[in-house]
Symmetry: C2
Subunit: 102 residues, 2 copies
DNA sequence: CACAGTACCTTGCTAAGCAAGCTACCACAT
DNA sequence: ATGTGGTAGCTTGCTTAGCAAGGTACTGTG
């Protein structure tokens, strides 16, 4: 899969996944990679960036299956951002579809 | 529009536009920007790259409305590449759609 | 104790979009 | 002749995100 295609959409996918269900990083890698080929090296830096930019807040939770998990939760700002991003993505997909239909 | 979203798709759009109709750069900017917001600074370097990589061949044609136009035509290699890219794009859009539906 | 699975993280590279800037041709008006 | 706007091509420098490859550390099982 051309990595260029993914630029930006993953951000939307992560925001949406967390919106639907508060998750930790490793879990997101598993969930998302079922549909789009990605690795940890993509997701972890992305989660940090989105948190730094105020779209996520985090909390730690113990686990019996390994080290503590860092959960991500959407902030209000994150919710608004996600909505705007979803619309932009939709616009692009539709614009491209018109062009590709000929 | 998030510029990251466009990474890669524009390549497919340009290849497809030229496949449907041999065109010159300025014309492609006008055609494509009707559906996706782009500028010359994106298209011209892209056309040069795709030509360098053997997906396009070019020829000049005089114009009464200004300087000569550089037309682009798909090569066989370009045709195959476009088909593969179209499939990858479709896969990504479908993968993202599944994730975004929840 | 070793190993596999879980869970987090970083560094360095690469690629593409694009604002801003440039040159030059043509037609038409001043 | 001078200027202006449309046509047509091009480049430089910046920014950004994906990701391979590497690392740390916890838990339970053989």
């Amino acid at each position: 899969m051309n990595p260029q295609f993914k630029k930006g959409v993953l951000e939307l996918c992560v925001l949406t996944a967390v919106k639907n269900k508060e998750s930790y990083g490793y879990e997101l890698v598993e969930t998302i990679s079922k549909h789009i080929k990605i690795t940890e090296g993509t997701i972890y830096p992305l989660l940090r960036r989105l948190t730094r930019e105020g779209y996520f807040e985090t909390y730690l939770k113990e686990s019996t299956e390994g080290p503590p998990r860092k959960y991500y939760r959407l902030t209000t700002k994150g919710r608004e951002f996600r909505t705007a991003l979803a619309r932009e993505w939709q616009d692009l997909v539709e614009g491209a579809a018109r062009l590709l239909k000929g």
